[in-house]
Amino acid sequence: MKKGYFGPYGGRFVPETLMPALLELEAAWLASLKDKAFRLEFKALAKDFIGRPTPLYLARRLSDKFGGAKIYLKREDLTHTGAHKINNALGQALLAKKMGKTRLIAETGAGQHGVATATGAALLGLECVIYMGSEDIRRQALNVFRMKLLGAEVREVTLGSRTLKDAINEALRDWTTNVRNTHYVLGTVFGPHPFPSMVRDFQSVIGKEARAQILKAEGRLPDHLIACVGGGSNAMGLFNAFLKDKNVLMTGVEAGGKGIGSGEHAARFAGGEIGVFQGAKSYLLQDEVGNVLGTHSVSAGLDYASVGPEHAFLKDAGRVRYTYATDDEALEAFGLLSRLEGIIPALESSHAIAEAKKIAPTMDKDSILIVNLSGRGDKDVQEVARIKGEKNL
């Protein structure tokens, strides 16, 4: 396979100004894989700062309700800062410091990656600027306050659709300008090589833990894994450790928004075609002349026009099945998990729960389903109240 590619997907489609920085990053990342001191430092922080390992929790009432498989939740919502994003952000922050960078920048949609990056910057004493679309600033206001409290500057992006993709454009422009002292902490398994591989590597702890935990709890591997897919980092983090286990089925859940027919969604595999966007070749929601289409999802973190290149590869290979959940299905799952298990999930993760509702009843009682609960829903409470009306919560 060509370097930096997953089959025909991936690559490094960026301005020349950034190429040396990507090569430097790739070298630093590869060196870190063999650097015992770095790995130990990261491991210690994962344990004492992030709070790993996160539990694998058997959701009994949810399992009973769906009436099929035993549903386990991988509790990434219990990490410090409340989502899996911290696994990657902290890893990259450490790497940046090692490379001698003094400034971190990041894009954020739901705000979880921005909070995680701001946290890493605070911990390591680095300057931090977060780019966020104004639409996302509105619907994830709580996370904006958190980033500011952590000492980060939040720059509002008022261009284009004012969501995640526009924040990435601005972050890339900033990086192009300040590349000498700045590291761009890309938050997902997307963008130019080495980001898709490196971010997967930092997130793969999710699947490694889940694999050991389920073997301990049940003495066998799970039958099916489910994770939501925006860029796809929590999904790759869970799936990676099971890719060679041919009997473990996997489903990635995209944002179906208001339905595929409505055109207002972010289901790249259902409605997209291959394109090159923000550094990578992958499935892309685009028009017939190659302009990128607007997307819609109730969850800011899934509201993105393209998807990680390794997911595109796994889709074509038939290793992972991709489907979508609509806004309404996600909102229903959000309420259901809150009431049945006392866990308020992020709207992103609610898409995975919504898929569990469809799959679990078709499975035997003794079969095992693991759902990645990638983040907690505190950040979404206000927006859900706005959508549903406070009385209807």
């Binding site: 960026v14 020349e16 100004t17 950034l18 300040n178 000498r180 190659g290 302009n291």
Partner: protein, 273 residues
């Protein structure tokens, strides 16, 4: 009418400039900003004012290498319904009407080209009379094979070199680039503030010297990004074989009177030597 594929206007122009001891003035305009009629007028005006080649911007939804001025121009062009297909048609029209013989270079992001199909794009663009293409998000590693197929059809794929490139990459870019080498003056996006640093000088000196030593043809080096005033254009042209001026001209075309624009273009032309 298909053009003579042997004839490449960019190469010819630089040969003439070299003979005459002159430097290239390469203005950039956004095609279809705010209409194709206006673009046609501007092409004519730029030619009159001594442009040696014209860069035609192709609007794209997510122009990640561009600053606010060209972003806004791109949006106006998108609103006018312009896209890569329309730009190629525009060039075809300009050429068949023998409207201009100035080398025309498209500046487009990669996805519209990918969507069009690389081979189809090369054939159609060349047949229309496009002479070169600059793709800011296509580095040498990803674009080398396209540059070769385009080169065989007489279409120059012009690669960018940057202040961060370093010696090894400068050589790579110099080898792969056809027509000329586009040196980005600063680490930044289009329209940012120019700084004529020691690094810029030394990188340009390297490109003129050892980086291309042993090659059959020394390729011209053109500098762009951030150049606004005739003074800046003059300073930069002394270091290179030509100067690209984009945002400043796009801004002037949108905001200044025809007379002011013409005066500005003539001043730039006079300063570049």
């Amino acid at each position: 009418m298909s053009p003579n594929l042997k004839q490449n206007r960019i190469e010819e122009r630089f040969q003439t400039l070299k003979k005459e001891g002159k430097k290239a003035f390469i203005p950039y305009i956004m095609c279809g900003d705010p209409s194709l009629e206006k673009t046609a007028q501007l092409v004519k005006l730029l030619e009159e004012c001594g442009a040696d080649a014209i860069e035609l911007g192709v609007p794209f939804s997510d122009p990640l290498a561009d600053g606010p001025v060209i972003q806004a121009a791109g949006l106006r062009a998108l609103n006018a319904g312009v896209n890569l297909r329309v730009v190629i048609e525009f060039v075809k029209k300009v050429r068949t009407e023998k409207f201009t013989d100035v080398p025309l270079i498209l500046m487009t992001y990669f996805n519209p080209v990918f969507r069009y199909g690389e081979d189809a794009f090369i054939l159609d663009a060349r047949a229309a009379g496009v002479d070169g293409v600059i793709i800011p998000d296509l580095p040498v590693e990803e674009g080398d094979s396209m540059a070769k197929s385009a080169g065989r059809q007489g279409l120059d794929v012009i690669f960018l070199a940057a202040p961060t490139s370093g010696d090894e990459r400068l050589k790579k870019v110099a080898r792969a680039s056809n027509g000329f080498i586009y040196f980005v003056s600063i680490t930044g996006i289009t329209g940012a503030k120019l700084e004529i640093s020691e690094e810029l000088r030394s990188s340009l000196a390297k490109l003129e010297g050892p980086a291309q030593a042993g090659q059959k043809n020394q390729k011209p080096v053109v500098v762009g990004f951030g150049i606004r005033t005739p003074g800046e254009a003059g300073m930069v042209s002394a270091l290179a074989d030509g100067v690209v001026i984009g945002s400043a001209i796009v801004k002037a075309a949108a905001e200044s009177s025809d007379a002011e624009l013409k005066e500005y273009l003539l001043a730039l032309r006079a300063a570049i030597k």
